[in-house]
Structure formats: C-alpha cells, structure tokens
C-alpha cells in the first residue's frame, strides 16, 4: 500500500498521542520520527527524501499555525497535516490557505490520516522530482555557449533555421550546427522537447 516511500515527522506534546500515531504508521511500514516540541524538529537536518509533518495545533507556548508560518519563512517546503482536539472554522481556513494538506480532528480515523500522509508524500515526492529535473536542465543549459543559448532561445520560439541564420547574420549551415549541438547538450530528443525545456527554464522567447 505504500506507493511512495518517505519519512513522516510528528510533533505533539502529548506523548500518548504521538506514540500511538507512530505505531499506526509503523503498522503500515512508514517510518516516523516524533518530537515533543517544534524546536527539536527545526534543529534536525532534513534529508532529501519525500517527507511530511503531522503537527498538533495546540502546543505549549506556540500554536501549530505559528510553526507553519515559521517553516514557510525558513524556506522549508514540507507538507503539513494538522491534528487538533478542537478545531474551529477560521483556524481551519487559515491553515489550509497556508498550504496545509489536511486538517484532522482528534480522535481521527487511521485511514484518514494515512490517506493524508500518502497524499502529502506523493506531493512532496513530485515536487522533489520536478526540482531535480529542473536542476539537471539548468546544469545542461549552463553548459551551452552564449551563442548556443542565443540560438536556443530562437529555436524554442519556433523560428526556422533559415530565419535564425539571417537574424544572427550567419550561414544557414552554421545555424544548423549550433542547433544540433544544442540538442545534444540539452539531451533533447526533438524540437518539441527542447521547447518544453526552454519553457521550464523560463528561457526568454525572444532576444
């Protein structure tokens, strides 16, 4: 049932609750790390794996919503599932608007929690994948010469080689050489693929 492997963090000041939740996750083969206070979690180094955070709303001295805000400010993009013994509508709305995955009221059904975790891990996994792809593309793009980047922009905008040559004031042959070089360096199988890459990299459409 565990489609995506990943790491789950639990922050709850109630030991009974956090241990029970950890036990549920263990029963379905999910690794979980528990924390009694958010400070402990923030101090931990985050590994580059799909992960999510189960966060109690009412914590001693700080609210879960506050923790959410601090994570966003610190650039830590971890999906959050809130759990609370007492939820009101404004609190829920605020949490969801700030990007929470789910808002569960104690005592929750284990399946609801697991579904939310699954959703969060998938999302995080996807996000990480996209981030990796983009990084790869960026390094390939950075291997292009300035002239090639120029040509790539024009190619991505759908300009024929002939026109590109006249725009750049070179021969059509030279332009073609540039294009094949670009395709090779960027590991693009087709012009369409190259166009998508340019889009992802937000390469300017025109010079």
């Amino acid at each position: 049932m565990t489609a995506v492997p990943g790491l789950v963090f639990i922050i709850d000041d109630d030991a009974g609750v956090r241990n029970a939740v950890q036990r549920v996750l263990k029963s379905v083969g999910l690794n979980a790390e528990v924390f009694a206070a958010p400070q402990d979690f923030l101090r931990r180094k985050h590994p580059d794996v799909a992960s999510c955070l189960i966060l109690d709303v009412r914590l001693p001295g700080i609210s879960g919503l506050e923790v959410q805000r601090k994570l966003i400010e610190a650039g830590i993009h971890i999906p959050i599932i809130f759990i609370t013994a007492h939820a009101d509508v404004p609190m829920t709305v605020r949490a969801m608007k700030s990007g929470a995955v789910e808002f569960l009221t104690k005592p929750f059904r284990d399946q609801d929690l697991l579904d939310a975790i699954q959703q969060a891990l998938e999302g995080d996994h996807r996000r990480r994948q996209e981030q990796n792809e983009l990084a790869e593309l960026r390094s390939r793009y950075e291997s292009l010469t300035p002239r090639e980047r120029q040509v790539m922009t024009l190619v991505a905008s759908g300009m024929p080689t002939k026109v590109i040559a006249s725009v750049l004031g070179t021969s059509e042959v030279t332009a073609k050489v540039h294009r094949s070089q670009i395709m090779h360096k960027m590991q693009a199988g087709s012009l369409v693929q190259l166009g998508r890459m340019a889009e992802k990299l937000k390469v300017p459409a025109k010079v």
Partner: protein
C-alpha cells in the same frame, strides 16, 4: 403807687400836676417828696438819684428848656410848680383821669406779666396788694384786706421760716429779694419771687415797704424741665455713645458736646477742635474722604451721613457714623448741626455677620444646599438663602422670588404630592423629608431633596417650618448609574458563568480527547498488525497495552474534574425565598419584555426562611424562568412565579409558563444531562437545577398545564428542618 395809698396820703401833700403825665409831690415849704421820671424828662433836668428827692431838700433854681426851645429859669421847685400849674392843660380832673388810666394800664401790665405789687405798712403790718397780687395768691382782686399775719399763713410751711428770716433782715433795710412757695386756698402750690424797697418818712425812719411779687412757677418749671431735658440729653448721648456738634456757616466747628469729646478721646478743656485737629483724628485711610466731605458740606451747604474710622490719642480705632443736617433761617445758611455715633461694636458685629453670611453662602454653594423658612400664618412669605435662588434657577441679583414663582418651577408631576406633604406636615406639626423634581425654564430637570423641621411656639403651636433643600441631581444620576452598573455586573456574572462553563467544557473536551485519540490510534494500529498475513504479536500486545493505558487516562481526567467541582464549598444561609425571586425577576424581566412576555409574582405570606446558597437558588430560578421564556418566544404570554407552603410545611416554588409545553415523549428525561429540545441548548440547565435542588434536600418536577404550557415546581425544606 396804689390807689388806696394815694387816697390816704393826698392830704399830706400838695399834689401838682405839671404836665399830662409828669407829676410831683411837694411839701408846703416847697420841698419835693417825689417826682416821676416823666416829670424830670419834661423838665429836662438831670437829678441825682431819686431817693434823694425824697429827702425833702429844696431844689436849687432850675432852668427848664421847653420842647419849643424856650428857656425858663425858676428859683426853686415851687416856682417851677406854679408855672407848671399856670401852664397846665387839664387840671385835677385831667390828672385824675390820667392817673386812672395809668393805674388801669399798670394793672393790665401787671396782669399780663403776672407781676403784682404790694405795700407793707411797717407801722400796723397792714398790706396793700394790687389786683394781680391777689390773683397770684389765688384770691379775687381786693377780696379782703390783707395783713402780714394772713399773708404769712399762705406761705408754704417749708419756706415760712426762711421767709421770716429774710423779712427780719428786710426790716433792717436789706433788700428782701426772695423766692418762696405759697399755697393758694385751693391747695395749689406756686412759686413767687418778691422784690421790695423801703420807703422812709421824713425823719428817715422806715415807714413802708414797697415791692413787687411775681408768679414764677411756670418759668421755674420750664427751667426745671429744661434742666431735666438737658440732663437726659447728656445722659442719653453718653448711653448711646452719641455726640453732637455744630459747624458754623464758615465751616468751622462751633460746638462739640461732652460725649463727642469722650468719643474722640479729646479734652473738652481745649474746646471744639479746628478742622486740622479734627482731620488728624480721622483714620489715615478715611482722611481724604472726610476732608472732601467737609469741603462739600461747606461749599454746597448740605448735610452728611457718613461712616468713618477715627484713631484716638491712645491708638484705639473706632468706627463712627456722622449725620449732619444743614440749618437755614429763611434763605440764610446757619451752618450744619449733627451727631456722631460710635458704631464700632455694631460695625464689628456687622462685619462678623457679613463674614459668616459669606461663609454660609459659600458652604451652601459647595454642597448645593439652600436654606429656607416660612410661617404658617403667611406661607407665601418665604425667607430663602442665595443658594436656593441658584438651585431654582433664579438670579440672586433680582431679589427673592415669590412663593408662586417657586412653585411654578416644581415639576408638574410632583407638584400635587409636594402640596400634600406640606399640608400633612402642617396638620401633624411633623418633620418632613421629601424628594421631588423641578423643571427649569430651559427644560432642565433637577432633583431636589427638601427637609423641613417644624418650629413650635412656647405653647406648642406650629409657627412655621425651617429647612434645607439640596440639589441631588448628581447624586440621583450617580445612583441610577450605580443601578445600571449593578445590572450590568449581574449580567456579566451571568455571562461569565456561562462562558466559564463553555471554556471549561472546551478545555475538558481537549484534555479528554488526547487519551481517547491515543487509545483509538493504538487500537487501530493493533487491528492493522492483526490484519497482516503474519501478525506481529509483540507489536499487537504493545498497542493493546497502550490502548488500555490511554482509556484509563481518559477516565482519570474525568475523575479529576469531578473532584475539582466537589472541592467548592457551598455556603448556605437563611434566605428569604421571595426576596431571591424578586432579585431574579428583576434580572429576567427585561429578557421577557423582548418577547412581549410579562412576568408576574405571587408571593405567599409568612413563608419560613430556607437554608440555601443564595447564588445556587438564583441559578435554579434563572434556569426555570429562562426556560419558560424560551418556551413562549413564539407565543407571547405570561410567566408566573409563585411561592407558597405545601402540606408538609416546605416552601414550594412554581414557575408557570404558557409556552410549547413538555415534549410528548421523553417527558421523564428532561432533567437528564444533555437532554435538550432546543437548537442551541446544551441540555444542562434542568440537570444542574435538579442537582442543586436535591443537594438542598428538595425535589424538582414538571407538570404539563391543562391549557397550555408547563409548570416547574421545586420544594425547599425550611431552615429548621435542615439544621435539625
């Protein structure tokens, strides 16, 4: 000379008339015994003293200058006489007539002047009196002949001895000028003054005494009266510390009375002071003013009425009031006459009074209280202090308003009651204390508290009332403010109680949900391990153990909460149920009014007090009343709260509504916790009420009304039963 004397003596003398009104008495030898002044005048002769004429010496030759300027010389008086006779115009008849006329005139003159004359013949002690003398002695003129003995009997006994002594001296030739009292036959006492002279015969022996007698009674009395008046005046001035003074037309002091010197502390020996001396006595601060006043009095010929201070030589300062009036004789200014009164004591008293009055006024202003007094005989004549004008919105500068003006200011709704209270106070001669409103012309309403005290005469009759009126508007609004705040506080307490309950419920829920969550999650984990192809017994045991532990934790939390509530000490006291119902009804009445529900109380009389916790009892009543109102929200009706004694002597309280009534099913469950038919209800009200009533040893139940709605009853044992 008296008529009788001349009759008797004519034979001894030649009587010659010289001129109409001049005559002489001469002897046969030409010697002159007497000539009258007129005669001498006609003769134009200067003679030595007339008594010398009576010495009988022959006069030397005389020269006579007639009025015509013709001069004649006569050898002696006889010659002169003869000439005179020859030139006589009349004769004896004429002389006699003239004599008669003179005598009449003399008598007339004597009558007018109250002067009589007398002749005392020293030879036989016979007395010849003129008519006026008789009158003076209270007799008819010439009523009877008089002699010395009869005369002496008429002298006042106290003066007789003194008179005789004077008379003895008179016999010796001294002038018997005496003042003595006589007693008239009518008993009236008169004072007379007598003067006399001795007439001697030819050899020089005293032959007669001649004199006048004058009735000086009136003058004497006037004198005495004047003296008395003078005495009184001086005494009076001394008593009232009043002096008098006069300024002459030149504006200088002409006269200062003894008392005035005393007032100024000056020596009367030095006489009235000069203006400079006078101004020096005036207090330096008043000196210019007095100098101006004196100048003006003199220049404009006017009087004065001024108050000033003087400094006596010994340094003592006195206040004087000087009043002067100008004197005129016809058009002529005669100066100014005036008085000066020492008003130091009055002035100091006045100053003190004014100071006290000012303090009183200020004090009244501070405490917004005016004082007043009125008499029963004339209730419209009200005496009031300044502050009362202000309170009633009258300007003190415009003087005292009339009773009607005051009464017009009383609020129309309170006027009748005020009149009633006044009338009752008069009838009962009683103290009164009343609050009423006044309405000022600007529409402002003030609250006044008036307290009146009867004033009784010695015999206990009511003379009037004195009292005070206080502006209590601020107090009143403060009172209303306090009442509002009290209401608010009561509301807040209620809200507080409700919200605390809500908070507590939320907190409790949170606490309990933690172990429940843990228990549920552990149980679910256990189920998942169990569902595996190869169940992990170790994990399952651990999860199950945790489940049990967490469930126990939940139970523990609930126990802890209950014991927390039980720790609260519920104090009980003797409570008057009706009083508590009233308190709560006043709180709830407004809530009812919002839904057009009226609240009515029916109190049983003579109810025993119950031993209860007042706040809890209030809570039960609030719950039942709010329930009733809630039930009638859509169908306005009446909520009746009734207190009575039941058959067992317990206090029975019923809250009856005309609302939706009891639920058809589950009517027996309404007192259970969390049972509710209301959308917003939590189902605790009746459960709590039951818990409270039962803890007090009472019972609570509900009944459906025959017509509409329901009635909730509860009983409370009375105090003695509980304590027993």
């Amino acid at each position: 000379m008296s008529q009788s004397a001349s009759k008797r003596r004519t034979c001894s003398y030649d009587m010659v008339e010289v001129r109409l009104d001049g005559y002489t008495l001469t002897g046969t030898e030409g010697e002159m015994y007497f000539c009258n002044a007129r005669c001498l005048c006609i003769w134009a002769v200067q003679l030595a003293t007339r008594p010398n004429l009576a010495d009988g010496r022959k006069l030397p030759g005389v020269q006579l200058t007639q009025p015509t300027g013709e001069q004649r010389t006569f050898a002696d008086v006889r010659e002169l006489a003869k000439w005179s006779v020859a030139n006589a115009l009349g004769g004896l008849e004429l002389m006699s007539r003239d004599l008669q006329e003179s005598k009449t005139r003399l008598e007339e003159a004597q009558r007018i002047a109250h002067v009589g004359h007398w002749v005392w013949d020293l030879g036989n002690d016979g007395l010849t009196w003129s008519d006026e003398t008789y009158r003076i002695f209270g007799l008819r003129p010439q009523e009877r002949p008089m002699n010395v003995e009869a005369f002496q009997k008429m002298i006042h006994p106290e003066d007789r001895e003194f008179f005789l002594r004077a008379t003895q001296e008179a016999r010796g030739g001294a002038r018997p000028d005496v003042e003595y009292r006589i007693v008239r036959p009518s008993g009236e006492v008169r004072i007379v003054y007598s003067q006399g002279a001795v007439i001697r015969d030819v050899p020089g022996q005293p032959r007669q005494r001649f004199g006048t007698v004058q009735d000086i009674t009136d003058r004497k009395r006037a004198e005495e009266e004047l003296q008395q008046t003078q005495f009184y005046l001086v005494e009076g001035q001394r008593l009232v510390h009043m002096g008098s003074w006069a300024l002459n037309p030149s504006g200088l002091f002409e006269y200062w009375s003894q008392e005035l010197f005393k007032i100024y502390g000056l020596d009367p020996q030095n006489g009235a002071p000069t203006l400079e001396q006078y101004l020096a006595t005036v207090h330096p601060q008043d000196r210019d003013f007095m100098a101006n006043t004196l100048e003006r009095m003199h220049a404009e010929r006017i009087g004065c009425d001024v108050k000033k201070r003087i400094v006596r030589p010994d340094g003592e300062q006195r206040y004087l009031r000087c009043v002067g009036i100008p004197l005129f004789e016809g058009e002529v200014f005669k100066g100014v006459l005036g008085t000066a009164i020492d008003i130091t004591e009055q002035e100091l008293l006045t100053e003190k009074l004014e100071r006290q009055q000012a303090h009183l006024t200020e004090a009244q202003k501070l405490i917004h209280t005016g004082s007043w007094a009125w008499r029963v005989r004339d209730p419209t004549a009200v005496e009031v202090s300044e502050e009362l004008y202000r309170i009633f919105g009258f300007d003190p500068a415009e003087g005292a308003p009339t009773w009607e003006q005051y009464f017009e200011r009383v609020h129309p709704e309170d006027g009748l009651k005020l009149t009633g209270i006044r009338e009752r106070a008069i009838a009962e001669k009683a103290y009164y204390d009343h609050e009423f409103r006044i309405l000022l012309p600007n529409g402002k309403v003030k609250w006044i508290r008036t307290v009146g005290h009867p004033v009784l005469s010695n015999i206990g009759d009511l003379e009037g009332f004195v009292g005070i009126s206080t502006d209590i508007t601020e107090l009143k609004s403060a009172e209303q403010e306090r009442e509002k705040r009290r209401q608010l506080e009561a509301d807040l307490t209620h809200i507080n109680r409700v919200s605390t309950l809500g908070e507590m419920a939320a907190s409790l829920a949170h606490e309990i949900k933690q172990p429940i969550t843990a228990a549920v999650s552990n149980a679910e984990a256990c189920l998942r391990w169990l569902a595996r192809d190869q169940p992990d017994m170790l994990e399952m045991r651990e999860a199950a153990t945790e489940t049990v532990k967490e469930a126990r934790r939940a139970a523990e939390i609930i126990n802890r909460t209950r014991s927390l509530f039980q720790k609260e000490v519920i104090k009980r006291e003797a409570v008057d149920v009706n009083e508590v119902i009233n308190e709560v009804a006043s709180l709830v009445r407004e809530e009812g009014a919002r839904y057009s529900i009226s609240l009515r109380t029916e109190f049983g009389t003579g109810l025993p007090k119950v031993s209860a916790n007042r706040v809890q009892l209030q809570q039960v009543l609030i719950n039942l009343m709010l329930n009733g109102i809630e039930a009638m929200k859509d169908t306005p009706g009446e909520l009746i709260i009734k207190s009575q004694r039941d058959e067992q002597g317990r206090v029975l309280i019923s809250v009856r509504d005309t609302g939706v009534g009891l639920p058809a099913e589950n009517a027996d469950k309404i007192f259970n916790a969390f049972f509710t038919t209301k959308p917003q209800g939590i189902g605790m009200g009746l459960a709590i009420s039951r818990s409270i009533v039962e803890s007090h040893g009472g019972r609570i139940w509900a009944q459906a009304n025959l017509a509409r709605g329901a009635t909730f009853h509860f009983t409370l044992p009375h105090e003695r039963v509980i304590s027993a």
